[in-house]
């Protein structure tokens, strides 16, 4: 009897320890960033341009660039991904072709992001003549996040109860009428969560934008989608490793990291709230 109780306690203690280690690492990262980058964080940092060879000033262009390219990627990936998922889940018959399409999407999800970068370079920048631009990077990031948008949308559609669909069909609704008015609205929370998470991932990617449009320094904000842009993850990379005086700018690098992390955490929290509210 006593042995059972001890085993149970030991089990719980091990699990709690593991959880604590995970949370601990996150806490460590946040602490380290805040400690070393906190001093540069203020409103000026976010809205000013960099000055004096990046050693002073703010990171506004990088914030702007990340925001624009991420929004563009989402605007491209969301409709395409949702349409694809609707077709796969609601219309496609179970044939070898459909299974191949599904397998391809799963595999695309595993392709390294740098490979997406090279693909973007070959197809968007050079092949389609977009040049190094917001547009090329947006398209590349859209491709990167497409598999995850499709997968989460499919799951959201699958979770709509069968009884709800049958109720609509029993009234004489066509398949599309059922999807449009009953299934899709019911799946919106799940779809939205998937899109926000995809957004948050795209915001932090460096390799795909490296080959397709990001610049370390550009004097002006991108005026059109065909211009180059600055971005937070790349800015962070350059400040930490390529700068002529990395030690001096280290606080700026940490500050950039904090901003990027804050952005990602904020997006993830929104996704979490959307999901929780509709449970």
């Amino acid at each position: 009897m006593m042995a059972k109780k001890h085993i149970q306690l030991f089990g719980i203690a091990s699990l709690v320890t593991c959880a604590a280690i995970v949370v601990g690492f996150l806490g460590l990262i946040l602490f380290d960033l805040a400690w070393k980058g906190g001093i540069v964080l203020n409103w000026e940092f976010l809205v000013r341009y960099p000055k004096k060879g990046m050693t002073e000033g703010g990171i506004f262009p990088a914030v702007f660039g990340t925001a624009v390219v991420t929004l563009l990627a989402t605007a491209l990936a969301a409709p395409l991904g949702i349409a694809c998922a609707v077709w796969l889940q609601e219309y496609a018959p179970d044939t070898p072709l459909t299974r191949l399409v599904r397998a391809s999407i799963r595999n695309l999800a595993g392709v390294p992001s740098i490979v997406y970068g090279l693909f973007g370079l070959a197809v968007f920048v050079e092949g389609m003549g977009m040049g190094m631009s917001v547009l090329a990077s947006g398209c590349t990031l859209a491709l990167l996040t497409l598999p995850s948008v499709i997968t989460t949308t499919e799951e959201a559609l699958r979770n709509v109860p069968r009884l709800l669909r049958e109720g609509a069909l029993a009234l004489g609704a066509t398949r599309w009428e059922t999807i449009r008015a009953i299934v899709l609205p019911a799946a919106v929370p799940g779809i939205l969560t998937g899109i926000i998470l995809a957004l948050s991932r795209a915001a932090g990617e460096t390799a795909p934008i490296l080959f397709t449009g990001v610049a370390f320094y550009s004097r002006y904000l991108p005026a059109s989608v065909f211009d180059e842009f600055m971005a937070l993850p790349y800015h962070l990379y350059i400040l930490s490793t390529q700068h002529h005086d990395p030690v001096a700018v280290r606080p700026l690098a940490y500050g950039t990291a904090l901003v990027l992390l804050a952005l990602v955490l904020m997006l993830n929290s929104v996704a979490f709230v959307v999901r929780a509210r509709h449970r």
């Binding site: 179970d94 109860p161 009884l163 709800l164 049958e166 109720g167 609509a168 069909l169 029993a170 009234l171 004489g172 609704a173 066509t174 009428e177 008015a181 009953i182 609205p185 019911a186």
Partner: protein, 252 residues
């Protein structure tokens, strides 16, 4: 000879290899209530769902035979199931209101069936809610979410939703089994009113309910139709031994 609105002829249904409905021949008389009774697994729900082509959703199902409705074979490959379902509606065992307002639940069916003008929709919503004995309870809260209604109210909403599109037949799959006795009584009251305008086919586990509401009763066992006749006769003087055993409660 009764005027049949639906005639089922030589109907066989297979779930993959399983022979679920065996050579069913059944006529549904117009403006009457027909109860389908029988022990679990006898095929009564399978038979019901054949009538409005709900088995189309299941690729494993194969049917042979005919179901004649208004001169057409419901089961024919060329028959459009969407059209069938506009004339043959269904109420399910578990109430399944859409996650929309009470008004929109009913308006949806009207909208997809072509009703455009707002006034017509409003009138039709009121009419069908009255028919389902739900109007008095919800008339001031039509914009409330249907999910906030009680189980019995939700089921009556589903009935209102079904009758709003003015089908000729309403199929009901154990409509009261998820409801409390008071809601059950209200739904049964509704069913008796509805038969003036519609024909009802009701699957039920509850023999007392069949006796209370149904004009005709069909007893099924292991996929076959054993006996069909006026309810009083089926329960009072059944011809078949199996029927007799079932209605007398020797097995369920």
């Amino acid at each position: 000879m009764e005027n049949y609105i639906l005639e089922i002829r030589q109907l066989n249904l297979f779930f993959g290899k399983k022979h679920a409905l065996k050579n069913i021949n059944l006529g549904i008389p117009k403006n009457k209530i027909v109860a389908l009774i029988g022990p679990s697994g006898c095929g009564k729900t399978a038979l019901l769902r054949t009538m409005n082509r709900m088995h189309d959703l299941n690729p494993e199902v194969k049917t042979t035979g005919e179901i004649l409705f208004d001169g057409h074979n419901v089961l024919h490959g060329n028959t459009n199931p969407v059209q069938v379902r506009r004339h043959i509606g269904m109420v399910f065992q578990k109430p399944n209101p859409f996650p929309k307002s009470i008004f929109d639940n009913i308006a949806y069916g009207l909208e997809i069936n072509g009703m455009r003008k707002r006034e017509n929709v409003r009138d039709a919503v009121e009419r069908s809610l009255r028919c389902a004995y739900l109007w008095e309870e919800v008339k001031d809260e039509l914009n409330k979410s249907a999910l906030e209604l009680s189980g019995g109210q939700q089921q009556r909403l589903c009935i209102a939703r079904a009758i709003a599109v003015e089908p000729q037949i309403i199929l009901m799959d154990e409509p009261c089994s998820a409801l409390d006795p008071i809601s059950t009584a209200k739904v049964e009251e509704t069913m008796l009113e509805l038969k003036q305008q519609f024909t009802l086919v009701v699957v039920t586990h509850n023999m007392q309910q069949a006796q209370r509401v149904a004009d005709y009763t069909a007893f099924m066992y292991l996929g076959a139709l054993i006996e069909f006749g006026e309810t009083d006769k089926i329960f009072g003087q059944p011809e078949h031994e199996l029927t007799k055993n079932y209605v007398q409660g020797h097995f369920g």
